[in-house]
């Protein structure tokens, strides 16, 4: 069953989709966002005091911590009224709470991996697996890193069967596009499968 999109979705009728780009520090998240984005990656800041507001507040506004954490993002306009936003997730583990917000309603995620320090992407893989958010692993092929096949990486990460692994060059636009295409295809398959599960 295909339902017609209704106009009650938002006043503008415009649709924005969100894709997260996760992975360890320095693995090339912002580079990938920049390579495919039509705008120079923008930086937005989230105040940590805000996200912690339900648990702090014993000291009042004067003492609010105003540390910020930055998120880089880019945009791809598919057509007027349909755009894709890419968000580089904050690298450090202590910003998990921001991931929850970013992941809300996300179409899927790209987990960037560097084969020289594969363990850096474990937290991201765990995160998306546990929340059943479709993701692909994109191995950023750094010069000087020993080349591994997609299958080796899949096994080393102990990925669920079917999770795509793509070799890429995060600096290259076409390579980045290919990663995104694989993700959207995979997300489509995942959602269709879930839909079928729910009706059978």
């Amino acid at each position: 069953m295909v339902s017609e999109p209704s106009d009650e979705d938002g006043d503008t009728g415009a649709l924005a989709l969100k894709i997260l780009v996760a992975g360890g520090f320095g693995v090339g998240k912002t580079t990938l966002v920049g390579a495919v984005s039509e705008i120079r990656p923008l930086r937005t800041e989230e105040l940590l005091s805000e996200v912690g507001q339900s648990v702090d507040d014993t000291d009042g506004v004067d003492h609010k911590v105003t540390t910020t954490v930055a998120m880089d993002f880019g945009r791809i306009t598919i057509r007027s009224g349909l755009s894709l936003y890419l968000f580089g997730t904050p690298g450090q583990d202590r910003f998990w709470f921001l991931w929850d917000e970013l992941a809300q309603g996300a179409l899927g995620a790209v987990v960037l991996a560097d084969t020289r320090r594969l363990q850096d992407c474990f937290p991201a893989v765990d995160y998306f697996e546990h929340r059943h958010i479709p993701f692909v692993v994109a191995v950023n092929c750094f010069a000087g890193a020993r080349a591994y096949g997609a299958h080796d990486v899949s096994r080393a990460l102990d990925l669920d069967q079917g999770t795509p692994v793509v070799l890429c060059d995060a600096r290259d636009r076409d390579s980045g596009k290919e990663v995104l295409i694989r993700l959207v295809e995979y997300a489509g398959r995942m959602y269709t499968a879930r839909l079928l599960d729910s009706v059978s």
Binding site: D9, A14, T44, E45, I78, Y85, I181, Y191
Partner: protein, 146 residues
Amino acid sequence: MSRERALLMAEDSTGGRHEPPGSQWYDNEAGPLVRPYAMTGGRTKPGPSGVRFDLIALVSLGTGAPGADDDTSLGPEHRALIELCRDETQSVAELAAGADLPVGVVRVLLGDLLELARVTVSRPVPPARLPDERILREVIEGLRAL
């Protein structure tokens, strides 16, 4: 903290007896530091509607939005946001980057503008209801054509 408490504290702290928060000068070069939530009157959540705008919620000018200069009740940051939406629909993330304000502050200011019907904000895609196949196909074709 409740909005009321935040407001009370913001009022109290600017009430004259002690210095308003963030008004001290660190050095001549830095100038006065203004705490981000000073721009929202101490509020950390949007108004009564209580909605938390997603980073990709899309913001357009409201149908009855007057020129930004017509309304003196709006602060400069409010007006900056209106100006940014004037040319085209903007996501919350883009507004934050464009106005050089933290996302949390932009959310509060947008709540004000929404209440005044100066802007409309699209609802985010609910987690369990992702776009249908046709949209996804369109995205894939669009990406290929880039």
